[in-house]
Symmetry: C2
Subunit: 126 residues, 2 copies
DNA sequence: CGGTATCCATCCCGATACTG
DNA sequence: CAGTATCGGGATGGATACCG
């Protein structure tokens, strides 16, 4: 049982989270409140129906969320995290929280790194 | 400052973490012990030199790790997390820990989901 | 409303070979 | 040892159109 091994099943969980929208879905639903499809799509700025569906299906398959269909007209579909999903969601949220708190330092590091990359040689300037 | 917005800079951090090998690098270095290039490559089963280099450069650029070159023969290069890197590394590790603890339940959910997908109709079985 | 179907760009990643 | 160079494939994600 070692995440670092190529075929360790735990890697599948990391691969799932690595999806472009997965973390945002988990955070959006982390408070336990169910959300409808269109509501999620509006919240996740830039996501398309197709990709959102793929993301939700993948999370449902891993047992992290449930999909409830109410056969009304118009149809109503709600998504909510399972207990496992809320656990992972909380952990992911701590990462997004960190990002928001430290984004300035990250951006500063980025600019300094990019600046250094341009120097042909440090002593050549006047 | 909203991660859900398409152009929010905090999204860059999520995109970084979404890299296939990023989380594993962070976990490998999370205890603060520096590691050499070859040591990391051995630890991350399946990674190639090129991709490992890309991953490390990206993390360095965001200010999450430092690269130290000792001009000896043969060359010695050490990577270690910065304070910010250790912070994120700790959060990421909590996710890998969760994966290891819950992988059985995840696999069970996966099999049940895949099973259900095959039923043409639930009542047709003998 | 809540999706699918189809097509397509892209880009990440991997294999291989080579260098200081 | 610690990379870089080059090439290429395959999956992921996006745009558009359409359906129950």
């Amino acid at each position: 049982m070692d995440v670092f091994l190529r075929d360790c099943p735990t890697r599948a969980v990391l691969d799932l989270i690595a999806g472009k929208w997965t973390m945002l879905v988990l955070v959006a639903l982390e408070d336990g409140r169910p959300m409808r499809f269109a509501e999620l799509r509006r919240r996740l700025d830039g996501v398309t129906s197709k990709v959102l569906t793929q993301t939700l299906r993948a999370l449902e398959r891993e047992g992290l969320l449930t999909r409830s269909v109410y056969p009304t007209v118009p149809p109503r579909v709600e998504y909510r995290l399972t207990r496992m999903g809320r656990e992972v969601g909380g952990l992911v949220q701590s990462i997004t929280d960190w990002s928001q708190a430290n984004i300035a330092a990250v951006q500063a590091a980025r600019e300094e790194f990019d600046g250094r990359s341009q120097h042909p040689s440090p002593g050549s300037a006047s």
